[in-house]
Symmetry: C2
């Protein structure tokens, strides 16, 4: 079926249901960052394969909004589909909501599958439509009716996350959630984000690419917990453990039906992590208590066992990257190596480490112009070939049974320009200055973000992405609620929070530079001025000092680099083979 | 009448009006920072003279909330009044709203004079009360009935602000507001903040202490403007100028009556700067459009004439402070000098400058333990005596016909401790680092705030106030909407914004340090990374280098100090007398 045929079929269904505009976003019912094939509805309906887009179809027009990363790609992929490409996230451009209110008449209806929209986003456009007397039908999945080979629900195997690395049992975690429910005067808590559920029940799986999660819903009831999940995912042993802990196991598909039977309860939901359909089912007969997911909040503060696992994962990652660099130095200039080979090798060397489960995100490997594309996703077809000159950026990470990693390094492949060194050094200054700050309790990420930028700003440079995201413990590589970015986020940084620290600079058509360590918040001291926290660095891999212009660094910054390298050397050297050790010693030579 | 008698009378009025709780806050109808005597109702009803407090009286209890600055004073002043002192702004303490909902029953009524509460604050507690079925009567001023000698409306003379220093005529400003009304699809704009009105109509006066404003309301209509003001404040010439510019002059007291006659209009009001009573009058028959005051937004970005005036005021201020320091050096250790004398002399030396109008705020002069009290207000009775040792903090400013100043310096009076020098130098590093930053368009104050704190934070120190506030041009010394503080404020910094830059450190019982310059935002460059702004320093007075520990400074920081002093010397030396020049040369010697 061509895209045009699909849209024609969709329009006939729209007419039959009295829908004048139908929306397709391509999210899943769990608001996952990576969407399982079953819910890749935007790609099915438009052919566009980018990671960000909103589509709207009226009875005579169709349009798809995406952001500047994808303008070229979308124009190409939407050719001859009858779908117009629209610019999202550009201040002067027409928004989807404006387009709908222009195209539709009063009394018309906009349809969409509310189970694939978060409550917060659906309510945002609902209010705009209602103001113009445009109605909403959010309980309708018109694509499902025409999607003949729709992929099934993900059906990967699942397993229990051991207490050794979880640190807290599922019964203790459910008790923690109970106490939060009590504080909110609530009878019931809905969990739908797969990482929240994975954390709460100490379960892991592979239902979503890169994220070790299991397709499921959960209800925390006043006394216990119900987990909606396909039992066949688990071994018998795991099922009996869950049941022994008092978890009631119910089929995944019975979740919405179960919600319909709930009456007269105060139900806690997180508006950003719960789909609109769930609220619509619950709200008429129950009281909805909206608050940030307690599971997310607990999950964000790593306990000692989780921290130990995360540190172990850094050692595995460091050793894998040493292997990678040994390979690169041996082959570069002798054999053909592309960005794609680099991505493959990064995974292959990680896979040699004990407890490796998979990649924690799609690796970004950028040489020359590709380095300047912030979210560049390399494929064999488009990969640049590496030469023994200039700089290579690689951003990759692993999922290990004990922890999750995310590291970016930019390394010299041979002769480099002074501009590259200057850029590299200013980015590094930012990374160091953010790492070294001490800060009072109550500090939020947007207070600290500038520390990673000031050296660049003062040279009239900047980067267009955030500086730091939370990282899960053998869980999603991007997790909240804490962050370090210019955007206001009222979640204070707290001991146990793990964050990335990744300033960069991107010169379109030339190259990109990013240096990323993982850091975590620890207690510093308390005195008459209050309680102070600081960061400790988790990542254990050298920074390429060949790219550093020491004249741009303060003595304290040079000390920091030398101390960091001393620590990397002493930590990794207990685990290295002779070749790794030789390289490590060279890479950690003091400045 | 004693406080107890007043409260007894108030309660009899409450019973007569079926009011179970009456609230008194002590604001005025214009949400002024400094409140004219007529509206100092909290002081009248409680005897408490602090600048921050909320009072609530029920039929059998009375309580007053204030913050930690005033706990001791409030306890003393509320003795034997029957009013309990309550802690405000402390996380664990009972709030006024909680207290009211505990003390009152469902169906009871809370009364207050809505004309002295901003729309935003009244609505915040209204919603809390309504949730508990407690009613609101906000159109009742019970104190007025028992306030026999209530001070009259302020009746100072007013005058026109010349175009030379205003830069833009009142007719042009009204046109600017008209264009904003058009954008908001509005027919009418209400202006009630006295500085917004003063800016719009280019009028100045002395109805509020320190603020050169005139008691007035204003309506910007579709074609013109109505100014509600006491005509007798103006000379005939000024009246005819206003009328020539098409301004309709109406009595101040006719404002609310005029509002009652408005029907079917879309009316723009600023919820933070408009009193609750105004909204209550307008809302049933009109559409209310809430938005940040356009006058505030225009006012915050100084034009060339205003900037020229502000720079001229800095020169006047610098010369006055040279005179002050000459006087201090001559008298210290020979005559008795107190903090109070310092405050008087600061004003006296400013008063010698041409165009001086008055002080721009109550000067803060703190020696020894008084230096650590952030908002210390010195009086003759409590003033510390100065000795030729330690450090003196003074924060003061002037209103000149051409501009407004605000400067803090901390100077050495003789031998100082190393702790003082270390603290002083870290505060100075913060002031310099904020001044030197370049930043992209769109940056907001809370992004930059940490630059003034990082040196302190890294030594486990901090200060408990914001870093920067807007400053008016021969207008209020504190103005918005821009600010530099940790609190989120979504107003980006823009060229023409003037701000204070005033980090500090306060050691209770020992001393306080603050260094404050005024800075303003100017264009830097535009390149592939965007458009950049930077700060230019306005203040022209040396920083006491005797208190600087250069080993704590970077080369760039030392350069900044030397360049700053070179500029101060070259700017002021064209205006100095020989004694001033000799001192100036000594104070600006390079480090």
């Amino acid at each position: 079926m061509t895209i045009q045929e699909k849209i024609k079929l969709l329009r006939s269904r729209m007419r039959a249901s009295n829908i004048q505009a139908y929306l397709v976003n391509g999210s899943d019912p769990h608001m996952s960052e990576y969407v399982p094939a079953r819910w890749q509805s935007r790609q099915f309906a438009s052919g566009f394969t980018g990671s960000y887009g909103w589509m709207a179809v009226t009875l005579d027009k169709a349009a798809l909004w995406t952001d500047s990363r994808y303008f070229l790609q979308a124009k190409e992929q939407l050719k001859n589909t009858g779908i117009a490409m629209m610019k999202a996230r550009e201040s002067e451009a027409l928004t989807l909501e404006q387009w709908i209110t222009t195209e539709l008449d009063q009394g018309d209806t906009v349809g969409f599958d509310g189970s694939c929209y978060s409550l917060a986003e659906a309510e945002a456009f609902e209010s705009k439509f209602l103001k113009k007397n445009i109605l909403i039908n959010s309980d309708i999945d018109l694509l499902d009716e025409i999607w003949s080979n729709r992929p099934p629900l993900p059906a990967s195997k699942a397993f229990l996350h051991t207490l050794e690395w979880a640190g807290i049992s599922r019964t203790q975690k459910i008790e923690l959630l109970h106490s939060e429910m009590k504080k909110a005067d609530a009878d019931l808590m809905v969990l739908t984000a797969l990482d929240d559920i994975g954390w709460t029940f100490n379960i892991r799986g592979a239902d979503v690419e890169c994220n070790p999660v299991v397709l499921s819903f959960a209800l925390i009831t006043e006394k216990g917990a119900k987990l909606f999940i396909d039992k066949s995912k688990f071994e018998t042993y795991a099922l009996s453990e869950l049941e022994k802990d008092g978890i009631e196991l119910l089929p995944y598909k019975s979740f919405y039906g179960e919600l319909q039977s709930i009456r007269g309860q105060a139900v806690v939901i997180d508006p950003d992590r719960t789909n609109f359909h769930i609220k619509n089912i619950l709200e008429s007969e129950n009281q909805i208590v909206r608050q940030l997911s307690s599971a997310s909040l607990f999950k964000s503060r790593k306990n000692d066992a989780e921290l130990a696992g995360m540190k172990k994962a850094q050692i595995a990652d460091g050793l894998a990257l040493l292997d990678f660099q040994l390979w690169l130095e041996e082959k570069l200039g002798k054999e053909t190596i592309t960005e794609y080979d680099v991505a493959m090798k990064l995974e292959a060397f990680r896979a040699k480490q004990r407890g490796y489960v998979g990649t924690s995100f799609f690796p970004i490997v950028g040489y020359l112009d590709h380095g300047a594309i912030v979210h560049f996703r390399v494929t064999d077809e488009i990969a640049n070939e590496l030469n023994p000159e200039g700089i290579l950026l690689f951003d990759s990470g692993g999922q290990y049974q004990y922890g999750t990693t995310d590291i970016t390094r930019t390394i010299s492949l041979g002769p480099v320009t002074y501009k590259m060194k200057r850029d590299f050094t200013q980015v590094l200054k930012g990374m160091i200055n953010l790492t070294r700050i001490k800060f009072p309790k109550g500090t939020i990420g947007c207070h600290l973000d500038i520390l990673a930028r000031a050296a660049l700003w003062n040279d009239n440079k900047n980067y267009g992405h955030g500086t730091g995201h939370g990282v899960g413990a053998f869980m999603n590589v991007h997790e909240g609620p804490q962050s370090i970015r210019p955007d206001f986020n009222n979640q204070p940084l707290k001991p146990g929070h793990i964050l990335s620290n990744e300033p960069g600079i991107y010169r379109t058509g030339e190259y990109g530079i990013r240096t990323e360590n993982m850091i975590h918040v620890v207690e510093d001291i308390e005195n008459e001025f209050g309680r102070f926290y600081k960061f400790e660095t988790l990542t254990k891999f050298p920074i390429d000092t060949r790219l550093v212009d020491t004249t741009l660094l303060t003595g304290e910054e040079i000390n920091w680099i030398n101390e960091y390298h001393k620590d990397v050397l002493s930590t990794l050297s207990s685990f290295t083979n002779p070749a790794q050790l030789q390289l490590l010693k060279r890479l950690t030579m003091p400045l």
